[in-house]
Structures are given as structure tokens and as C-alpha cells.
């Protein structure tokens, strides 16, 4: 197992370098000189000279790439001219919102998708099966941004003044203030340290922070704000998970040992859950891991629609303002995150299925 993990980690190093090179190249492909492109209106000759010197833009391309890798390795993505603060600070500020949204969406898609898939496999060709597959087909075909807008219309306007009313935008109702849990707990981490960064990151996820500070009114408010965006974002992974768990279950249910289990007189529930579902889990791990990628892409659209100030929203603002530094930095960070995620998926796959690590 250790050799497998090591080999798998080694294999992802070239990919990481490739990602760095690709984003580096994208940054250099911007028409015009990088100083004016990145700094925009603030680019005076003095500023540009300093900028060129700082990023080593007068050096050769390989040296420039070295500078870039070094900067990224130190978590330095430069400053955003639009927000006039370091891009890294923006990331730490905004990423928790996107992570919270993506986790909520993934959670929804798993707790709805897997049961739907399993039930439609067990009741193959029944109306549940037909409806699930119809929903799965429609789910992957709907534009996320459209579904988000429609949900906002239905739940915020059409169902207004009913118990089903849900807020169409924002993270909390106006007037609610969150107190970071580390202040409630009387921890006083020094700003700028790694510990502070981690605590700050967790504290910015409203639901988690609310639970940690036992402020349940806040948790409830945060959850009602998260339902619509999370649901909109969850449709594609939900459809994929439902389809995948259905086909995996169908395959397993057709095997001899299932017939044996039934012949032994085991109850249907035991056969389905203990004998079949466990073996159908494998391909699901891959689908779930890979859907996180589409979740991150979809988050850009969902955050734009629901006015959530996460990474996606800031990316959108950055594009319209031509703030390339942010676009470049966020692309790198998300791609690296995605590579690590794939690594985790592969390793857990090998852990679940001994045949993979032994081959």
C-alpha cells in the first residue's frame, strides 16, 4: 500500500508542474505587456519598472517560470489591483464560502442520489426507476445558472409568505453578525500565523462556525440561505451519482453470490445493503470524487446567481474587471486542489479494492 501511495504521489508531480506551467503561460499570453494588463489603470512607468523588477520580467522565460513557481510555493499570488489587497488574503476570505457551498451540494447529491440509484436498481423497470432515470437525464441537461434563477423565483417570489419561502440571495439575513468561534472560545491567535489562517478559514464557514459557537438561530438562518444554491449546484452530481449507483447495483445484483444469499433465505434488506451495496460502492467513490471538479466549476455560476461572495463570484468580478492576477491565482489553486482530490480518490480506491494496489 505504501509503495502504491508513493508511486501515485510521484506521478502527480509532473501534472502539478504542468498546471503551474499552463497558468504561467496563460499569464504570458495576455495581449499587451503584463504590467499594464495586470495593474490596469494604476500602471505608471515607475510602478511598471518596479513590477517588472519584482516579477523578474526582464529575465529569460525559464528564470521567470522559476520565479513564478517560487512565488506560488510561498503562497504569494501578488496583489489584486481591484481589491487592493494580496490575492492570498482574498483566497482565505472567499474560499470558505465556496467550500461550504460545495460540501453542502455534495452532501445533498449523495443523500438523495445514492438511495434513488439503489432503489431504481432493486426495482428495475418500475415507475421509480423510470422517474429516476428521467430526472437524471434532465438533471445533467439543465444549465445550473438557469435552475438557480428559477429556484429563486419559485421559492422567494411564488411561495412568498408560505412556510416554504426561502431567501434568494446572500449568506445571512441583514442584521445578523457572526462572531468567529475562536473569539467566543477566548483563543487569541496572532494574526498572520498559520494557526490563525486555519482558524479564520473555519470561522468563515457560517454553519460550522454557528455550530461551534452554539448559535443555532444563526445556523438556521445560514442553512435557509444555503438550501437553494446548494440544491441548484447539486443537480448534476446528483444525477451522475444516481445513474452510477443504479448501474453498479444492477451489475452486482445480477451476480451468483447474490442469488446464493437469497437462496440462504436472507432478507431483501440484508442482501441489498450488506451483500450488494458494499460492492457497488467502488465506482461510486470515483464519481463522487470527480464530481467535486464539476462542483467547483458550477460554483462560479451558482455564486453569481445567488450573490454569494465566494471564489466563483470573485472570479466573475475579476474577469469583468480584467484582474488577471486573481483569475490566474484561483485557477492554479483550484487545479492543485483538484489534483490532490484525484490523488485521494485513487488512494481510497486502492484501499477499498486490493486488486488495484497489487496489480
Amino acid at each position: 500500500m505504501t509503495t502504491y501511495i508513493l508511486r501515485r504521489i510521484l506521478l502527480s508531480i509532473p501534472v502539478l508542474f504542468g498546471i503551474l506551467f499552463a497558468t504561467f503561460a496563460l499569464g504570458r499570453l495576455i495581449p499587451g505587456d503584463p504590467c499594464h494588463a495586470i495593474l490596469g489603470e494604476k500602471a505608471t512607468d515607475v510602478v511598471c519598472d518596479e513590477f517588472i523588477r519584482r516579477h523578474g520580467l526582464d529575465k529569460s522565460i525559464p528564470v521567470q517560470f522559476g520565479y513564478y513557481v517560487n512565488e506560488v510555493a510561498h503562497g504569494d499570488f501578488g496583489r489584486s489591483f481591484r481589491f487592493s489587497k494580496p490575492v492570498t488574503d482574498l483566497l482565505i476570505e472567499r474560499l470558505p464560502i465556496t467550500v461550504e457551498l460545495s460540501i453542502a451540494a455534495l452532501f445533498l447529491s449523495i443523500i438523495i442520489g445514492i438511495p434513488l440509484g439503489v432503489i431504481s436498481a432493486v426495482r428495475h423497470n418500475s415507475w421509480v426507476d423510470v422517474l429516476t432515470m428521467l430526472w437524471a437525464n434532465i438533471g445533467v441537461s439543465m444549465p445550473v445558472f438557469w435552475l438557480g434563477l428559477m429556484l429563486a423565483y419559485v421559492f422567494a417570489l411564488a411561495l412568498k409568505d408560505t412556510p416554504f419561502q426561502l431567501p434568494p440571495s446572500g449568506r445571512l439575513s441583514p442584521g445578523l453578525i457572526t462572531v468567529p468561534f475562536y473569539e467566543v472560545w477566548n483563543l487569541h491567535p496572532t494574526q498572520g500565523t498559520v494557526v490563525f489562517t486555519i482558524l479564520d478559514f473555519i470561522g468563515r464557514m457560517n454553519i460550522l462556525n454557528g455550530i461551534l459557537t452554539s448559535d443555532f438561530a444563526l445556523v438556521k438562518d445560514a442553512v435557509t440561505h444555503l438550501i437553494l444554491p446548494a440544491f441548484a449546484l447539486s443537480t448534476i452530481p446528483m444525477a451522475l451519482i444516481a445513474r452510477m449507483s443504479r448501474s453498479a447495483m444492477l451489475e452486482v445484483l445480477g451476480q451468483d453470490y447474490i442469488r446464493t444469499a437469497r437462496a440462504k433465505g436472507l432478507r431483501q434488506r440484508v442482501v441489498v445493503m450488506k451483500h450488494a451495496f458494499r460492492n457497488a460502492l467502488l465506482p461510486l467513490v470515483t464519481v463522487i470524487g470527480l464530481s467535486l471538479g464539476s462542483l467547483l466549476g458550477g460554483a462560479v455560476l451558482t455564486e453569481t446567481v445567488f450573490n454569494l461572495s465566494g471564489v466563483g463570484r470573485i472570479l466573475y468580478d475579476a474577469i469583468t474587471a480584467r484582474d488577471y492576477g486573481i483569475v490566474q491565482a484561483f485557477t492554479v489553486v483550484i487545479a492543485i486542489f483538484f489534483v490532490i482530490l484525484n490523488l485521494v480518490v485513487d488512494i481510497s480506491y486502492a484501499y477499498l479494492d486490493p486488486r488495484i494496489r497489487l496489480s
Binding site: 504542468g18 495576455i30 439543465m142 438557469w146 423565483y153 455560476l301 483550484i334
Partner: protein
Amino acid sequence: MSQDIQAIAKLDAEGLSLQSVSLWNVTMRRVLRRKSAIVGMIILGVLIFVALTAQWLAPYDPVKSMLDVKNYSGTVQKRLPPCIHIFGCPRDQPQHILGLDGNIRDEFSRLLYGSRLSLTIGLATVSFAIVIGTVLGALSGYLGGWVDNTIMRVMDVLLAFPSLLLAIAIVSVLGPGLINALLAIGIVSIPTYARVVRASVLSVREMDFVSASRALGGDMTQILFRRILPNALTPLIVQGTLGIATAILDAAALSFLGLGAQPPTPEWGAMLGAERNQVFTAPHLVFFPGVAIALTVLSFNLLGDGLRDALDPRLAHAS
């Protein structure tokens, strides 16, 4: 398959002339056996019909404001809700089945013309990706060695980015616009096709008929294009059909974000994006373009699934 073989055997036994059963015939027969694939084909057929006849079907010019329409008799009103005579719209008002948009243009006409763009977008990006992907995948699989390694590592890097995000990054560098958006989506989808082609090339590269071709003195391009690549055709068709669905969805997303088609182009994603802040006051302007996108994407998804079931010999044809 077995039914077809039995049918042939029966014909043979009866001494009748043996008709050749082409892949096309077999596939069509199998696809037509699936209800979902038929639904997909019907939707797609309607869309193609609409796209081809948009200039006759559309009551108004898709980019012209009602203010510029000669002898326009109705009251000019921004974001007019749908006005249909049989549903009680006053007779003296001209009919607008889907209402007017924020620039006082007929939404229905724009929607009809939008089908042209969406279908073209899907076909263009996927063809681009298939051509480049096929060349890269074929070289990679056939030559092997460092060529294979280099190409496939580059593909790995492309696959390491969430596709929509990479497309956004590429467009933000190239600059917004429909062509750049298409290029970005095309680039992002190359790895899928390169992998498919490489896998099929690898599976037949060492087979006897290829060796025979080589022994007969066939050169590389001839062997690749006439002997090996035809084997990659079926998975490519399936992937391509499903890929068109993704491409249309991604292009709509880019246009929605303002990175794709620019106004006044009647592109569905852009139409939706332009009116998204009016969803509470004029929901029809958001609803209908979204339905159009979803239906188009759905038709390609259903057709692609049907084709996969029909063409993939690994799937059992139990039904």
C-alpha cells in the same frame, strides 16, 4: 446482434440472396428500439428544422427593436409579458408569443434564431476537438515512447482543471467573444477524444491485419487512417454526441457570464444572462431560453446514450 445473425442464417438457409448488414443499419435498428433515443432524435429533428427555417418562422427580426419596425402598431413596452390573442391579449395588440425583452425585441424570434447558434456551437467545438484529439491520440498510441508520454502528460494537465474553469481562464486571456469561447471549450475537450482514440489505436495496433498492412509496405499515414482509425469511429461518435451536449452547456455558461456571445447576438445563454436581474419582474425572459438550452442538451444526451448502448459491444443486448 444474435438476432441479426440468425436472420441472416435463416435467409441463407432458405437459399435467398444474402444481403449485407451494414453497421449503420444495425445501429439504427438498435437505436430505434430505445424510447429515450427516439425522444432525443425527435427533439433534435425539431431543433434542426427550426434552425433551418428560422428566417421564415420568426415573426420579427431577432436583433431589431420594435421601435425600428416599420408600421408597428402595438404599444412599445420593455419586457412586455407574453401576448397571445387566444389567451386574452387585446386584438389590437400585435402578438408576441414569448413577450418582448429588455431591448424591446421579440423574444420568440430571438429564441428561434438562437437554435442556429447553439447547434453550430456544439458541432463546431466538438469537430475541432475531435480533429485535434484524433491526431494527438493516434500519434500517441501508434508511435508510443516519448511522443506518447509527452502528449498524454499534456492531456493529463488539461484534465486536471475543472473544464468550465479552464475555459473561463482561457477566455479571460483571449478576450470575451463567441469565437474565443468556442476555442476555449474546444481546447478543454480535446483530452477526452485523444484518450478515446489512443485507447482504440492501442487495442488494434498489434493485430494481424495491421501487421499485414505493414508487411505489404503501407506507410504510416495509410495504416493509421485506413486500417486503424476506422476502429476508433464508434467510440468517437458516442463521445462526440455526448460532447456536443456538454459543449452547448458550457458555451451557454460562458455567454451567461458575459464571456461568450456578445449583444445583440441572439444566443440563449447571453439572453438569459442579460435579463437575469429581472427574474422577479420578467420571469419569461429567463424561463424560455433556459428551457431551450435544456431541451437541446437533453436531446444530445439521450441520443448519445442510445448510440452508446447500440454501438458498445460490451453492453449486453438483453432487451
